[in-house]
Amino acid sequence: MSTIRRALLALMLVAASAFLVAACGDDDNGGSTTGGGSTGAATDAATEGGQAGGTLTGYYTSSPDYMDPALTYTVEGWNAQWVVYTPLLTYRHTEGAEGAELIPGLAEDLPEISEDGLTYKLKLRDGLKFSDGTPVKASDFEHTIKRVLNLESGGSAFYLPIVGAEDYLKAGKPNADIEGIETNDETGEITIHLSERIGSFDYVLAMNFAGIVPGDTPFRNMTRNPPPGVGPYKITRSVPNRGFTLEKVPEFADYGIQDVPTGNVDKIDITIVKNQQRQTDDVINNKVDYLIDPPPADRLREVQDKAEGRFEPYVTNSTYYVFMNTREKPFDDERVRQAVNFAIDKRAMQRIFGGLLAPSCNFLPPGMKGYQKIEPCPYGDPTQEPDLEKARQLIQEAGAEGAEVTVWGNDEDPSKPVTEYVADVMNQIGLNAKPRIVEASVYFQTIGNQKTKAQAGFANWFQDFPHPANFMFLINGASIQETNNQNFGNVDDPEINDLIDGADKNTDLDAAAADYAEADRLAVERAYIAPYGNRQLTKLVSDRVAWDSVVAHPVYEVDFSLLQLK
């Protein structure tokens, strides 16, 4: 190789940096979904300055994993398909905690739940038709759940508590019956029997996986030819990694489903553009109307200036925390865990997240029912300087000075800088910590394997559905597993377990909320985890979009069915 070629290779490495910053997307949501905090409210009525009709354009950084409701399990997929496949139950189309409220979707009413909490009865609305004109039948619901199970969807575990679901899965016969689902096509009645009491099962019925599809939909991934659904929009184009098009279904308005918007714009065209710099430029310059991902960290300042009045961060139902393995030294000692909580500077974390993190003391996010702000925070005000002296003192009291700690993290942003920061903080308080960064695709399997004996590390969780059970299982002793463990710290406190188990069985979330709040408080006080904040995402649209119509739903992000052009 000549000198010039070798020198050019070195230069290319630097140039590759420039290229990669432009080409790489920022995705730290781990494939799960996000929710939103309260920044306002919206309705499906015409908003100020907005009008129905027109074509809205948008960019996604990543293609939806599937354009099939049985399979999709990413923010992108759910954002696109919520307005296409309405489940029996759905959520109110507003922001904040109100948006987490369950309302009837294709069912006439919320489910009638038996006293033992094992039987759910629903009735399908009359006269519903899929977007291709096929009438909707009650048995389509069973077929929908069969597809989720049979296709081994990421969401299949949510439906396994249905009686006979595991047998159906084991039998491997797609058209076999699921014993626990009874349907009557004549009356539209649907009865679901559960093998165990699950307080959050009505939220499971509202998940995108349960978006009803016709009974003859094949048992295969339908991404290239998505099945019809019942919703304000239908998918008219789906090209993986290129984009998709949604078109309004005018007939949906005839069903008169209360609180479910009928859509405003005629057409929504989404293109996959990996280059987030280009995305940002195009929305600032009004060449495109909507972005799902926040602008790159180093453009935020510019976006705030140039897109004033059409840019706003909002808090998601997510928690970022440091797990500490209670089975491994030195974190088997509560004082060491408390020391880490005292030492972490949440203001520093906020800056690592480019400002898009709301510092927090709680494990439950603020938009979640059951959230009660822990005040005063036992480790000091999250917005103030940390108490390093107190932390060092606790480490000394525990006799843990110089204890070797490996802090685990993955190579995706912001996990890597967070992990390096946490390791440095641990060193500052007297531990002997080193970060260990592994590839993101194997990270959670690695730390979730008990053989790894991961001592501490980066963890986060974005809600699947807006129910505290979907967060609290992460610190419930009952969820500890040998492999694929998500209770990374092996938290197993009998008092916390009892509170969570009791609350999980309660079908009345309002009544269970206090127990979740208590479990949250105990977990923080006993320092089983070190939560430091809730992720913020952003709403960013072009000047063409009526700002009041931009509603960030706590589960499905910006609601396509409410968006209006000026």
Partner: protein, 347 residues
């Protein structure tokens, strides 16, 4: 009377007229190494880049002095939420939106901070130490194994040559970067223990060994070729006739004849090793955090290419300068030791 003709110099058999004339006019008693040194001294460009490389080495070795006496920090210390006073003005080391401070041109944060509030200048110098350590360490590993395998393969021939050559073929089939990434990622998760040799995950020895092994085939093949030619020479026949065993012939007769080749290759391999280390670290398979390395620093800086370009530019410049210096100096050494090679390249 000593002669400086081509036969005596060992590495200038069918030289072009100009170079052959130069050697003929060398003073009596001038050895081939001295001639080579004289040629190198005359190559001012190569010498200048050699000096530049030594300067970069010296600067990198001085990292602790800069860190302790000037910057008053370590390459690992995170100061994200702290402030510093520059010319009487208090400034955030990392702004609220996460953008780190740029070059202050003062002792502290001379080249600015990274997103974790670490001093870029200090990390740059320590990163240089790591890059050079890995580059030179890996090259030594390459030289040792390539020489050993090339000698065995070329000298003994037969089934041993066949096995070693097929192993080379297999290694050659893997792109170096792919091999490096695959080994780097897996070894960095849990380290490796083979007999008494134990490499802990995150150790600098992991990229050193990986890079060292990855380049063995690139050097072993030309050495094997040279040994194949040398073993037919009269002086080897003479050694055999004197009753020398194969190991002694390799050590005393062949190895000295390979010295110029090894010397020519060494700086070039160091340059390639540093480049590969940077590439692997950029991809997360080389030097592991919190240890700094130029490749890792470039990778960490790409998020802030527009708002904090110093994060990428500073390690990029150091990397380019080091590789350029080594390559130009290396080619100067090659021209001095083996002028025919240059002629072949130019043609």
């Amino acid at each position: 009377m000593a002669s400086t003709d081509s036969a005596a110099t060992d590495f200038s058999d069918d030289l072009p007229a100009a170079i052959a004339a130069e050697e003929r006019h060398a003073p009596a008693g001038t050895g081939p190494w001295r001639i080579a040194l004289r040629r190198l001294r005359r190559n001012k460009v190569a010498l200048a880049f050699g000096v530049l490389f030594l300067l970069l080495v010296a600067v990198s070795l001085a990292a602790p002095i800069w860190a302790n006496e000037v910057a008053h920090t370590t390459p690992y210390q995170n100061r994200i939420a702290d402030t510093i006073t520059i010319d009487g003005e208090e400034r955030n080391i990392v702004a609220f939106d996460g953008v780190p401070i740029g070059p202050t041109w003062h002792g502290e944060y001379f080249l600015g901070a990274d997103r974790n509030g670490r001093d870029v200048m200090v990390r740059l110098l320590y990163g240089g130490r790591n890059s050079l350590l890995i580059g030179i360490g890996a090259s030594i590993i390459t030289m040792v194994f390539a020489t050993l395998l090339g000698l065995l393969s070329g000298f003994f021939g037969g089934w041993l040559d066949w096995i070693i050559s097929r192993c080379f073929d297999v290694m050659w089939a893997f792109p170096v970067i792919l091999l490096g990434v695959a080994l780097g990622v897996s070894l960095n998760i849990s380290g490796i223990t083979i007999g008494p040799l134990s490499l802990k995950s995150g150790s600098l020895w992991i990229p050193t060994v990986i890079i060292g092994i990855a380049y063995v085939v690139y050097l072993a093949r030309p050495i094997r070729g040279q040994v194949l030619a040398l073993r037919e020479k009269e002086f080897v026949e003479a050694a055999r006739a004197q009753g020398m065993g194969p190991w002694r012939i390799m050590l005393t007769e062949l190895l000295p004849n390979l010295a110029s080749t090894l010397l020519v290759f060494f700086p070039l391999i160091v340059a390639n090793a540093i480049l590969l280390e940077a590439a692997l670290s950029f991809l997360g398979a080389g030097v592991q955090p919190p240890e700094p390395s130029w490749g890792l620093m470039i990778s960490e800086g790409i998020e802030f290419l527009t708002s904090a370009p110093h994060l990428t530019i500073a390690p990029g410049i150091m990397l380019v300068l080091t590789v350029l210096a080594l390559n130009i100096f290396g080619e100067g050494v090659r021209d001095a030791l083996d002028p025919r090679a240059k002629i072949r390249l130019e043609h």
